[in-house]
């Protein structure tokens, strides 16, 4: 297989500005989508349930945080909180208006998360870096508290949990206990493809450039006429929108029910941030690499290690996972801020010039 751009001349700017200007890249994307469509029918239920579904649901949040942290340079530890807002909004909406299709509500729940995100993003005009991280941490704790303490959010359910009701699309159950895993997977996949497309459109245009300008040199950005507050708040809004949709997918299509105190806790916020760093800040494809890493590693360790004769308990595996992810994150922060996405680029560059070294 040859990965070359030779002979593919761009005769107009639209072609040159395409998100995948090289034909082989476009073919590659088509193949990946085709595989993703076949996957649920060949993968075991176990793989679907423990790896593929959480991978799809979380990748939307990782893209969301990447927009905020990777593209705009603002750190947030509130991602899980914003996911929770999406999940609870979706729950309230579908129980209040059950006749509206759940897919619409999953999407709409993003707007609630966006509004909350903008509110907690307000301090970002004044504070940066570590201080902003602390401010978003406060958002995380406040939201976590609200999910537990405001019984209206979970419809006064005595268990304090969301119980995902049965909802259908064209008569086929897509949420709730009777929905097939394959169906849930395909719905999730649809969201992931759609949201990725929107995000990558956005980051390649004027708005994406203003975000990166704010990230790279905010005083010069201001001098281009970019209003810092607007750019930052828009980043918070879009980022939280993605987190909100991710949270709704996470509960409605993956978990099937959730207790906010445990699911949308600070640990998840950190994992999402680590996925952004491991995958590569400011990279869409990196977001998927990072998500795959944080989702697959625990499962591989928990079930893979005993298979090759290393006896570890679930709890130990859990700790080892955190250690590996933490160490890798620190390593990448110091050595390669563009994460796994950078390796991917190097590989593509090598392929482009192959068989020559440069």
């Amino acid at each position: 297989m040859f990965y070359r751009e030779t002979g593919q001349f761009k005769t107009n700017y639209a072609d040159d500005m395409a998100i995948f200007p090289i034909r082989q890249d476009r073919i590659g994307i088509a193949i990946i989508i085709a595989i993703a469509l076949i996957l649920p029918f060949v993968a075991s239920d176990f793989v679907l349930k423990t790896i593929l579904l959480p991978f799809l649901a979380l990748s939307v949040a990782v893209i969301g945080l990447n927009i905020l942290t990777g593209y705009t340079g603002l750190i947030s530890l509130g991602s899980a909180g914003f996911m929770g807002v999406g999940a609870y909004a979706c729950y309230k909406l579908t129980t209040l208006f059950p006749e509206v299709n759940i897919i619409i509500w999953i999407f709409a729940s993003g707007f609630f998360a966006a509004a909350v995100g903008v509110f907690f993003g307000l301090p970002s005009l004044r504070i940066k870096g570590l201080y902003l991280a602390v401010a978003t941490l406060a958002a995380q704790f406040f939201l976590q508290w609200a999910f537990v303490r405001i019984p209206w959010l979970f419809n006064y359910n005595p268990s304090g949990a969301i119980e995902v009701p049965l909802r259908t699309l064209f008569g086929v159950p897509i949420t709730g206990p009777t929905a097939e895993l394959e169906v849930k997977y395909l719905i999730c996949l649809g969201f992931v493809i759609g949201m990725t497309w929107l995000a990558s459109n956005l980051v390649h245009g004027r708005i994406g450039r203003s975000w990166m300008a704010v990230r790279d040199m905010d005083i010069a950005a201001e001098l281009m006429g970019i209003k810092l507050l607007n750019a930052k708040l828009l980043a918070f809004a879009v980022s939280s929108f993605f987190c909100g949709v991710s949270g709704a997918l996470f509960v409605f299509l993956y978990l099937g029910g959730a207790e906010a105190g445990t699911e949308f806790a600070i640990r998840l916020s950190f994992l999402i941030l680590f996925a952004v760093i491991i995958g590569g800040t400011g990279s869409m494809i990196g977001s998927f690499f990072g998500t795959a890493f944080i989702v697959a590693l625990p499962t591989i360790l928990k079930f893979g290690a005993p298979a090759i004769g290393i006896a570890i308990t679930g709890a130990t595996a859990e700790k080892i996972v955190l250690m590996i992810i933490g160490a890798l994150t620190i390593y990448l922060l110091i050595v390669e801020p563009h994460g796994l996405a950078r390796l991917w680029q190097i590989m593509k560059q090598k392929l482009r010039v192959w068989p020559f070294p440069y």
């Binding site: 004027r206 708005i207 006429g225």
Partner: protein
Amino acid sequence: MLHVSPNTATTGIAKGEVLLSVENVSLRFGGVKAISDVSFDILKGEVRAIIGPNGAGKTSMLNCINGFYFPQEGHITYKGVRRQKVRPHEAASSGIARTFQNVALFKGMTTLDNIMTGRTLKMNVGLFWQLLRHGPAMREEIEHRRKVEDIIDFLEIQAIRKIPVGKLPYGLQKRVELGRALAMEPELLLLDEPMAGMNLEEKEDMCRFILDVNQTFGTTIALIEHDMGVVMDLSDRVVVLEYGRKIADGTPDVVKADQKVIDAYLGVAH
């Protein structure tokens, strides 16, 4: 050639009239007086040099003009309007662009994206179409890409179009930064030591670009520069600052012959 042009028609200021005037401006940082009671003006269409030893307050003066600093005393009149506290993005939308002494490019972005960012104020298709990257958003993007390609051709930087600017040598970075400022189609262009750290050939190129911009599009330029040769060649009038005060103002020949300027540059003790 470059097809961008500043919109002279809308401002109503003719060539040779006062575009910007600085009146009795003083700026303090705590106890440090960076600028003391300085007045001068910039005429539409001229190249105005600001020179002086290090720490004289030249950069601070540009920062006052484009809204990074607010002078404690005095005021600045731009296009006949006396400005109250102007924010940098307001200065930008009123037609002031600038480059920085220490290159303030967007390091992680390509040359193309850096210069495209200079078009931000001229682009206004909203979030909805941006999300779809179709229709009006794509049309706008292509229209501005065309302008940016003109600037890239003008500055002879075609080969580095898609390279992240952080990886470029310093001389080229300065050139990209000029390109980004030009993309704003400014009426007043402030250049803070555009040739610092360049070799002779790069300096000559930069001089040529600056003169071209000034002569072809009538862009007014305020320029800080240390190389006296360059200043004498490029500028119509020169203002000299020393320790935050204005010590001379006039044509290059007059300023060059001024005893106070000679003392300041030869480092005579005061």
